[in-house]
């Protein structure tokens, strides 16, 4: 018993030491856990700062890109959309209709150690006037990255306005048939039925913006209108053409100002239509792709023999002044085009003489008269024929300048 008490007394110091050590260990653990929490908070704080810096750098890149695009697009000869870089499309925008490229920014900019990449992309079929600009900034050492994006309206096209010439043929001169009664012009009809049938079609089959004032009295009389519109009653389903009631100056063939072009395309220029056609060709779009190619700018003088378009997806064919240099290419008799066909005849009737339209459902427009249209040509109205180039614009927009799409700014990291 004495021995046991003695052992206990000898071990009192060791127990005290053990208790103290345990207390110190406990305090140390509490301290370490607190330190770990603070360290985590410090790390999070640093990451917040680095990510914010990356975001502001990406924003700076985006703003620089917007300025560069605004500057580039004010030059009609810009090359902004003349190329496509397949690897530059954002995830999810990999369809054949997406044209994408990178944009180089000025080197005189301090990017605070970030690597910056700017990509621009657009849908060349549905909205070639809207670009998505995507800017990314990355800091390798800090493991920080940020991405910002903004959509832009671009003056790559212009609004075409409300269609005010609802006729399957719009000309800037007189119309005649090579063989009387061998062609067919079908006006818009209330029932959207097939072309033909007496009294079935209503409206205007041919709309001419110019008729010669033969007697020089300043007015276009009914006789002058009939002389100018030399199409048989059997061909003219829906009856009559609309001519100006007062005499207009004869179109200047040396410097053709095509009123018909403006009627069909509004303020959109031929160069803009050509650029979109080239972009669609660059992307490999064709009648067989999905979506199908919708705009064709044709410089070749060869006869056109490919049927294109459908009622739900009409196309636009522009036979350019180059294609029509001597005479506009015919559309072969067995070919059917659904959409709009424009012949840039440069106000010269001779370039459209003896033309053949094949079957066009929609509208044929030309910058001159259409003498001696060949037999078998059939032109039938289709209300949505402008769908291929009637891209959506918000009302009231000034389409001549670059503008941000409201609410399109996004950021992420």
């Amino acid at each position: 018993m004495h021995s046991t008490l003695g052992d206990f007394k000898r071990q009192q110091g060791a127990i005290t030491l053990l208790m103290v050590t345990l207390l110190v260990l406990l305090a140390s653990m509490v301290g370490l856990f607190t330190a770990r929490g603070v360290w985590t908070e410090r790390l999070a704080s640093n990451h917040s700062l680095w990510n914010a810096q990356a975001k502001y750098t990406a924003e700076a890149a985006l703003e620089t890109a917007l300025t560069l695009m605004d500057s580039a697009l004010s030059d009609p000869a810009n090359t902004l959309w003349t190329s496509h870089e397949p690897g530059q499309c954002a995830p999810g925008l990999t369809g054949i209709e997406w044209q994408c490229r990178s944009l180089s920014l000025d080197a005189a900019w301090d990017m605070q150690g970030h690597t910056v990449q700017v990509r621009v992309m657009r849908d060349v079929v549905r909205a070639p006037h809207v670009a998505l600009v995507l800017a990314e900034a990355r800091h390798t050492a800090n493991h920080a990255a940020a991405q910002v994006q903004q959509s832009l309206y671009m003056p790559t096209i212009a609004p075409i306005g409300v269609a005010n010439k609802a006729a399957p043929l719009v000309t800037q001169g007189c119309v005649s048939e090579a063989v009387v009664g061998s062609t067919r012009f079908c006006a818009p009809n209330a029932n959207q039925g097939s072309c033909g049938g007496s009294g079935y079609n209503v409206g205007t089959a041919i709309h001419s913006l110019f008729a010669p004032d033969a007697d020089g009295n300043g007015l276009i009389s009914l006789a002058e209108q009939q002389a100018c519109l030399n199409v048989s009653a059997s061909s003219l389903q829906g009856g009559g053409g609309v001519m100006p009631s007062t005499a207009l100056p004869t179109p200047n063939t040396a410097q053709c100002d095509s009123a018909v072009w403006r009627t069909v395309f509004g303020a959109t220029t031929p160069a803009q239509i050509q650029a979109i056609s080239q972009a669609q060709a660059l992307k490999g779009l064709s009648a067989n792709t999905s979506p199908a190619r919708s705009v064709y700018w044709i410089d070749s003088p060869n006869e056109w023999s490919q049927s294109l378009g459908s009622a739900s997806a009409p196309v636009l064919l522009v036979f350019s002044a180059t294609a029509c240099a001597s005479q506009c290419p015919r559309i072969s008799p067995s070919t059917k085009i659904v959409g709009t066909v424009f012949l840039d005849t440069q106000c010269q009737d001779s370039r459209a003489a003896l033309w053949h339209s094949g079957t066009v459902m929609g509208q044929v427009a030309l910058a001159s008269g259409l003498p001696s249209l060949q037999g078998g040509s059939q032109l039938q109205w289709l209300a949505n024929h402008r769908q291929a180039f009637d891209w959506p614009w918000p009302s009231g927009i000034d389409a001549q300048r670059v503008q941000r799409v409201r609410g399109s700014w996004k950021s992420g990291s």
Binding site: T34, V38, E41, L66, P394, G396, R406
Partner: protein
């Protein structure tokens, strides 16, 4: 008996030394943690002030009357949790007339005892600086006249 007493004294001394060392270490760690926490807080506050200054400048004088002063590079002082923050922003032109470079710098230091509420955070002893740079283009946003 006397041997037992001797042992107790030495043991008490050793225990006190261990306890003292432990408390010193823990105290040092705690101080360091508090300082680090305060530094994080200062950094986050500085970032918030820099972001506010940038957004204020962007929103223009109508929505943010202070934006003109910020754009002119005038310092803005504020004392928060025992730290005085000085916000300075500058706007400089770039090679493009439509594009401006914006830099906001926020520097901070402990508030002196007779200013602000330094007793709020006695550990806010560090000073530092944060710089945010970005750019702003004057390319407009399309707003329809029919929108409210």
């Amino acid at each position: 008996m006397s041997t037992s007493r001797g042992f107790t004294l030495i043991e008490a001394l050793v225990a006190a030394a261990v306890l003292g060392l432990g408390i010193l270490s823990v105290n040092t760690l705690a101080m360091h943690s508090l300082n680090a926490g305060a530094a994080s807080h200062q950094q986050i506050t500085a970032l918030a002030l820099a972001s506010n200054a940038l957004e204020c400048w962007r929103s223009g004088p109508t929505l943010c009357p202070a934006s003109a002063a910020l754009g002119a590079g005038v310092d803005s002082l504020s004392t928060l949790s025992g730290t005085t923050y000085t916000v300075r922003s500058g706007v400089t032109p770039t090679a493009y007339a439509q594009l401006q470079a914006i830099q906001v710098s926020v520097s901070w230091q402990p508030a002196s005892n007779n200013t602000g509420n330094s007793h709020d955070n006695p550990m806010a002893t560090g000073s530092g600086q944060l710089i945010i740079s970005t750019r702003a283009s004057s390319v407009p946003v399309f707003v329809s006249s029919t929108n409210p």
